[in-house]
Symmetry: C4
Subunit: 387 residues, 4 copies
Amino acid sequence: MAQVSARRRAYEIIEPGIKRDRLALWFERASILIILASVAGAVSSTVPGLDPDELEGLWLGELVCGLFFLLEYAARLWTAAEHPVFGGANGRGLIAYVTSPLMLLDAAGLVPLFLLALRPQAQGAMLIFQVLRFFRLARYSPALATVGRVLTNEWRPLMAAGLIGLGLLLVAATGMYLIEHDVQPTSFGSIPAAMYWAVVTVVTVGYGDVVPITAWGKLFTGFVMLGGLIFFALPVAIIATGFLAEIRRRDFIVNYGMVARVPAFTGLDGAALAELVSLLRARKFPPNTIIIRKGDEGDSMYFIASGEVEVVLPHQSVALQEGDFFGEVAVLGRVKRMATVIARRTSELLVLDAADVVKFMEQNPRVEAVLRAAMTARQKIQEDEPA
Amino acid sequence: MAQVSARRRAYEIIEPGIKRDRLALWFERASILIILASVAGAVSSTVPGLDPDELEGLWLGELVCGLFFLLEYAARLWTAAEHPVFGGANGRGLIAYVTSPLMLLDAAGLVPLFLLALRPQAQGAMLIFQVLRFFRLARYSPALATVGRVLTNEWRPLMAAGLIGLGLLLVAATGMYLIEHDVQPTSFGSIPAAMYWAVVTVVTVGYGDVVPITAWGKLFTGFVMLGGLIFFALPVAIIATGFLAEIRRRDFIVNYGMVARVPAFTGLDGAALAELVSLLRARKFPPNTIIIRKGDEGDSMYFIASGEVEVVLPHQSVALQEGDFFGEVAVLGRVKRMATVIARRTSELLVLDAADVVKFMEQNPRVEAVLRAAMTARQKIQEDEPA
Amino acid sequence: MAQVSARRRAYEIIEPGIKRDRLALWFERASILIILASVAGAVSSTVPGLDPDELEGLWLGELVCGLFFLLEYAARLWTAAEHPVFGGANGRGLIAYVTSPLMLLDAAGLVPLFLLALRPQAQGAMLIFQVLRFFRLARYSPALATVGRVLTNEWRPLMAAGLIGLGLLLVAATGMYLIEHDVQPTSFGSIPAAMYWAVVTVVTVGYGDVVPITAWGKLFTGFVMLGGLIFFALPVAIIATGFLAEIRRRDFIVNYGMVARVPAFTGLDGAALAELVSLLRARKFPPNTIIIRKGDEGDSMYFIASGEVEVVLPHQSVALQEGDFFGEVAVLGRVKRMATVIARRTSELLVLDAADVVKFMEQNPRVEAVLRAAMTARQKIQEDEPA
Amino acid sequence: MAQVSARRRAYEIIEPGIKRDRLALWFERASILIILASVAGAVSSTVPGLDPDELEGLWLGELVCGLFFLLEYAARLWTAAEHPVFGGANGRGLIAYVTSPLMLLDAAGLVPLFLLALRPQAQGAMLIFQVLRFFRLARYSPALATVGRVLTNEWRPLMAAGLIGLGLLLVAATGMYLIEHDVQPTSFGSIPAAMYWAVVTVVTVGYGDVVPITAWGKLFTGFVMLGGLIFFALPVAIIATGFLAEIRRRDFIVNYGMVARVPAFTGLDGAALAELVSLLRARKFPPNTIIIRKGDEGDSMYFIASGEVEVVLPHQSVALQEGDFFGEVAVLGRVKRMATVIARRTSELLVLDAADVVKFMEQNPRVEAVLRAAMTARQKIQEDEPA
């Protein structure tokens, strides 16, 4: 029983996002730091003219990082049974776990340790595996996963855009080969050679190491550049649009969870809740930062999803907790902010713009009643204060 | 009768998208491969210093590809009567067919074969026709057609943007000619010569082979670059926006067809159906890929438009077929995924985001009833499982 | 009376968009051609090494174009009284007319004629005024006017973005001056000199004639480039977004006018009409172009705002006129196109996407009744045809 | 009492946006001018070869600007008690005020004055503090504050995009180091050195001072460029989208305040008011500019939030004041503009597009009644005019 409990505790510590207690957060920060240190060490090791002491230091650093990664990998294997997806002690689950992308990346990060022991002269391979460790950060940031999803979702238009782009490159390289391969046999001596010029040109990098020199070549280049500008914007637009949409989708899930903690919104039906969530933006404030300043325009109101804030009144301070809200006086009364509000602890707030407050209340009278009641009570507190 | 049937069969095989049986798919893949091989051969033939054996090989490859294209062209002519647009055996239909863009492109692809026989020394012309074959891929990808439609739809704003761009180029070239044609007579000796610099600059390629050297020239260049950055973004924005809109439109048609196969949606009126389709995204999964993982966030639910998936429960597996749906438990119950789901065959799924599920159900109680009934039944299955 | 009538007729001919009869169109085309010829002549005159005959030709061309512009200017003055804005024979109206942007541009276009006579050696000034004539095209294309409106509408965010950009340039130039003015006294010898490098870098042109050579300079350049990429995208985004919005607004007005000619839409109330117009896209088809092909997907339906189209059935052809519609059979019946439709004359069509057809009909039962009645009648025609 | 009143008056003058009277506006303009002059002086002082007189002039100018800034800073400290946020004479408020970003920037702007007196040889430090003064303009333009808010709001996706970008740079630099560090030991001798090439390439600047020279290097560069084009567009898209959204939000607040001054809209409930505000665009017209021209298309109507306009009829002129509206005749009657309207004083107008006028009236019959009544009255005025 104690055995199981220790394994569970280890799992909670090394797997990010399971339990956000002090030890787990400390382990996450240490892990990120060691990853960055390991990559920085690998990058530094390529600088020429390091003296033996520095090389020794890098070698030691690599050893320490490598051993840490080895221990972490072992711990992940040990705690695999706690994993909700791959758990269940049968072999198939373990194999699936070991071959999952993040675990493969972890395994690749161990290769330098063995190369150090067995083939220290294979510096190229070692460098590649060391630098790959950077992508271990994917475990702590869902950014790379998002990009992966966008590529999957949008593969059809991306293929289309890619085909157009490839056709443009092919036409550009062939045209330039025919026009200038006699006068510039080095740069445009074959279509594959001209292809380098074509790519450098259409993505608008334009190094200038290969340029047209004949009048026809320059004219043709003009059209290729315009074509590149226009058609290479297509994949960019597809991915940027998809990325923004994917992020909005992810935010929706997160905000949905936070709205449930705000009493003012209990009793809302599903459609109203879904609409509300799409209107809210989540913002995180570090401790002791000013959220709103007295005298500013009242352009939004705030709901506290977690943390604690302090409303600074002239003669007293009021603390607000998870589930409370503030900023409604300025929004509903169309006046300037009447008090400064400061985050006391790390606080996650849900922000609702003034325009949306008004619209949403109109459709949900119960919410309006709650907000107006709070506003009246608060205005009374301020009036009662000794001037 | 047998004659007609053979012609029909041939038509189904060589025309993509009519009947997606094994032979048609095989022919499509072979065709794409031969197109790519033919273009690759043409590109390779320009590399200097090939030995006679390699040249012989390329020559033979070109012959084989050319003969394949010739046979394919003949087959298309033979099966023209089966074509829904150009069919009907009268001559006018055939002429319209032969002069349609794709058939003209096919004909152009045959030119190298004749050049090989008649004028083998005309290598430039041959290369052009060989490379043009790349665009035969348009038959198998609607990408190029989409770009064509965007250019047609948006010709008015494109003309406007083009006029602005041309004006900017003209001003840039004239200004630079006046400022620097004395100090750089080669680069800025005339307005047409300065126009090359202007294009290279405004599209932000900036080779650096022609640059301003006087103070006034540099100042003028600064304004030209800012103007180029801003005004050459207009055609890019127009085409990118139009392309994304065109793709969304195309997706709508495809999804509309797939929604009809899902029993949960029968009985929806036209407006609800149209709204639903605009909310759905289609995704295709290859066999044996994981669709959702146990333990992930429940951010969407899935409807099976075609194919088969397997829900992996601890002690059993449940197969779901075309028309079924899954993933509603996590979305409606706001819990994590309770089981991993794997695509068993190539499956087309319609994905509905959590936010849209909630909103849509609110407005269509019948759909809500169907989903909630399924959810209750499935939760019961899991509870009844031996632990 | 005859005098007034002649003046009115002249006004209709030289002012575009008043009356689109044969003479007015012919004058518009001739005018555009002469403008382009005049600019092309000016551009050509800068090419070095022209022989006396060619110079004579260009000189003659300039004289002819100049005289044409002079006559046109005189005609505009004469017909000013017909102008709806500046009309009314009092002097104030005429002064306002002469100082309106387009008339000032016309006047500027007359300067070369006088320079030719008085100061033929002032070639620089002459060239500037000749090239400025290009912008006379603004009279025939509302493109430049649109850009002007966007700049007016969005001046506030543009100022903001410009201030940010200027700050970035200032920091970049100052930083680079401090870092490299000792090692590269020519390129970074003063902040104004370094500013040229800063602009070339932040707009991503990157000529490469001035580059950092110290390690600190390269590091600093990296941050400047990233800053430039991000913050110089702001004015681009503002103008592109504003331009697209302005174009959509302009389209709305045009489409509103065309919808009024379609009988199926009479009786729609204001809100439904406004919604419909925002759903429609206008497309223009030249004579004898194919609008829809038999066998294609039915992704939209068409309303004829002007012109004439022909529906090609196997044994007959049906002509449709202004106010008719077609393409509804495939959209409503969810089948492939049953006939090819060809534009017989230049035709302006209003396109309604399949998704929008379904949604709009749902909310406007009368429109649905009209469309379904037409569909039934047409399907019957086809069934009655001899097979 | 007089003391307090003087302090209050000083506060109103030096703090922008409190009271927009003549003296405050004059002070604001002078302040902006002195900031720009001060920065221009600093920039000029770096130009080599200035003669003693010019240096003397710059030195004097710096002294004058510096003393102005010193006086202004003192005035701000004196009037701190009037500040709505930091007011209240206790020390904590003053410390918070002095350490607020704008006041710190003001303090930094005083450093050159002391350097001039104490260490005139520290020219580098002096230049930095002089150039920093540019950002004092932030007090008069909320642009920089907007960018700050966007960075705060979108820090999560920006971090994600930054991580992806950093990964791409790392892979690019490592790959190129491995491929070309033997053949180009200067440019690619270490990963940090190769990183400079990587940044210059992925942001598409492409100076051309470091380029690949091997075939593998060129191939690798092609993929790096495409990756850079796509993934470095992500932060750009995030910031541009966020910036546009932030500006729209700010506009909402401003317009909300202006709508309250238009009598036609009194009595609208909250939801209708919020919808109306989101439809309106605010535009500012300088005195004596034409707002609409007789004979133009009627694409929008106007409400006067402040200022005065003149409607020019053939035989009279009508002045309209704050709260009036115009342009509804052409929009509702679908005719061309019947009169030219000119701004007589600086006027803030709220513009409502034709499409939105129609939709909004449909849903708010009271507004429709007001507009139609005005339209009928105005058409009658024109008919009654002597022809």
